[in-house]
């Protein structure tokens, strides 16, 4: 009898502890690496940390003040905004069109869908190298084509404006496929009867798109927007190998600026401040998108 009681007690204890034991490794690991990094990043941005000098005086908001006063940061912020804005605009249209046609066709749909996602599998570095090959040097294919069309024969990556275009296109190529997948998932949840009903009500193709398709996929649209904007704001893997931020500083997006600040200029504190700025922008964006998605869900 005592044995039974002991066993019952042990059963109970295990049962009560189970959720915590299960969740512990995942939460502890993520907290120890990512959570720690955020907290430490915030702290670092309030101190003056010099690599070769002892002592780390508290400087309050001075790093931020320096940051917003520096032309390099303002340049990067502007470039990032253009880069992200253009990626979202182009990427969203392309992925929406891609998802719509993939949803529309019946022939070889699985084949085309499989191809659509391929760029998502390629590493950022490989993407950068392939795009560099398309544009770099006098003989690069794009330079040749533009020459043949009677346009400039200067390598696009040597021209500040065009270089920004190139990293934006490479970025769209790299991250839009995942947005396509998200939107396709949304499109597939729409009940075909809705379209049948709209046909009977006399709606045109465009009216169906406006009144059925778009409202039905608003949560997915907002997810896709979130993906496109975070992935672009954080983009580092493509830009560093593709242009290194150049020519000049014409493609130095925030993530690259931050990296150069910390690891080339060894200015950790200001680098950390950039990290926090990116984080705050992303948090604000996610709040907006989540609210939009939530509202769309509530309307249903």
């Amino acid at each position: 009898m005592a044995d039974t009681v002991k066993r019952a007690f042990r059963d109970q204890l295990i049962e009560r502890m189970t959720p915590y034991i299960l969740l512990f490794p995942a939460i502890a690991l993520v907290a120890a690496v990512l959570g720690y990094a955020v907290v430490r990043g915030v702290m670092m941005s309030f101190y003056q940390i010099e690599v070769w000098e002892p002592g780390q005086p508290f400087v309050g908001l001075r790093n931020y003040k320096d940051l917003f006063g520096s032309s390099g940061f303002r340049n990067s912020l502007a470039i990032s905004l253009i880069f992200v804005g253009a990626t979202i605009a182009i990427g969203l249209v392309m992925s929406l069109v891609h998802a719509l046609v993939l949803n529309q066709i019946k022939f070889a749909r699985a084949f085309f869908r499989a191809i659509a996602l391929i760029p998502y599998l390629v590493s950022g570095v490989a993407t950068a190298v392939m795009w560099r090959f398309l544009f770099t040097g006098d003989n690069a294919i794009v330079t040749q084509i533009s020459g043949a069309l009677g346009l400039s024969t200067v390598s696009w990556l040597a021209d500040p404006d065009k270089a920004l275009m190139v990293i934006t296109m490479a970025n769209v190529w790299f991250i839009a496929p995942f947005a396509t997948l998200i939107l396709l998932a949304g499109l597939q949840t729409i009940d075909p009867e809705l379209y049948a009903a709209a046909d009977i009500d006399g709606a045109s193709g465009f009216q169906k798109f406006i009144h059925i398709t778009i409202p039905s996929i608003i949560p997915m649209l907002s997810l896709a927007l979130m993906w496109l904007s975070f992935a672009s704001f954080n983009m580092f893997d493509i830009v560093l190998p593709l242009t290194g931020g150049g020519p000049g500083r014409s493609t130095e997006v925030l993530a690259v600026y931050m990296y150069q600040l910390a690891f080339r200029d060894l200015n950790y504190s200001t680098g950390a401040a950039v990290m926090i700025v990116i984080l705050v922008i992303n948090m604000a964006l996610s709040a907006v998108f989540l609210r939009a998605a939530g509202r769309a869900q509530n309307d249903k």
């Binding site: 039974t4 066993r7 019952a8 007690f9 109970q12 049962e15």
Partner: protein, 353 residues
Amino acid sequence: MASVTLSGLKKSYGAVEVIQNLDLEIADGEFVVLVGPSGCGKSTLLRMVAGLERISGGEARIDDKVVNNVAAKNRDIAMVFQNYALYPHKTVRQNIGFSLQMRKTPKAEIEKRVNEAAELLALTPLLDRTPRALSGGQRQRVAMGRAIVRDPSVFLFDEPLSNLDAKLRVEMRAQIKALHRRLGATSIYVTHDQVEAMTMGDKVVVMRDGNIQQVGRPIDVYDRPQNVFVAGFIGSPSMNLIPAKADGTGITISGKTFGWNGADFPSKLPSEVICGIRPENLRLGSPEKGIEGIVETIEPMGGETIASVSVGDTNLTVLYRDRRPVALGDKVGLTPQTDALHLFDAQTEQRIS
């Protein structure tokens, strides 16, 4: 084999009490059916016995052992689920043998017992298929096999036949009964279907809102329902329940009085009663002779016919076996067999006897 004793059992989710102070005694080897409408707490009760729901108060015992805090796997029970809960990635053989494997039974022994169980349930040719490739009835039998292979002290069934079609259900009912006769294991069977309860149980427990309404042999529950709820729930088509006035001389229903005609009824009757009449105990006749009403629907079932007759603002159901020329809209008179009436106190809804 084991007995199951529940005393003062309680279950609450927050402030909501779904089982209130419930006592029940199940003898060794007995086949007990818990029946009641959905939400009456019968499944919760079963799951508390199984160890799948925590017991909020009171005591559950299997034999002499209090099992309140014993994990399901240590209670020596087996359970058949409503949707069978077969592991889709395992073959029939692996499904049936899983519990033995978990208990580290030697391989040869598992093999032997799985084969025996399969033999018993005619599953031998299906042993290497996966559940996906089986029909509903076959899946049901696999679920049974999984339960019997372990030779547990208590079998629990949670509406095991409700996903089968009508014909198969009748067949499986008989199979489960036969299996019980053969194995003689204590069984608790939950269903919302009172026909299953009547045909299968050694003992029927009628539940409502977390309370036991009546416990007894099926035929006793049918013949002497303890209250209005049980009277209406057990039996198909259901018993007619009509407000009436009764005294020593007879009973007055809808303005018509019928003498007791020798049926013995208690001398002390409350003035307001509810009169229960089973449809087969109502006679159809000419309007002037009985309770007057108009035939509203007729459902010929072949052997018998069920008619619904509107009387005032209620409807009475009549069941008759002869072919009568009754047509919709006919005016008829209904005569109750006074010796087969059930009387309930209109206030307490309890049986008067």
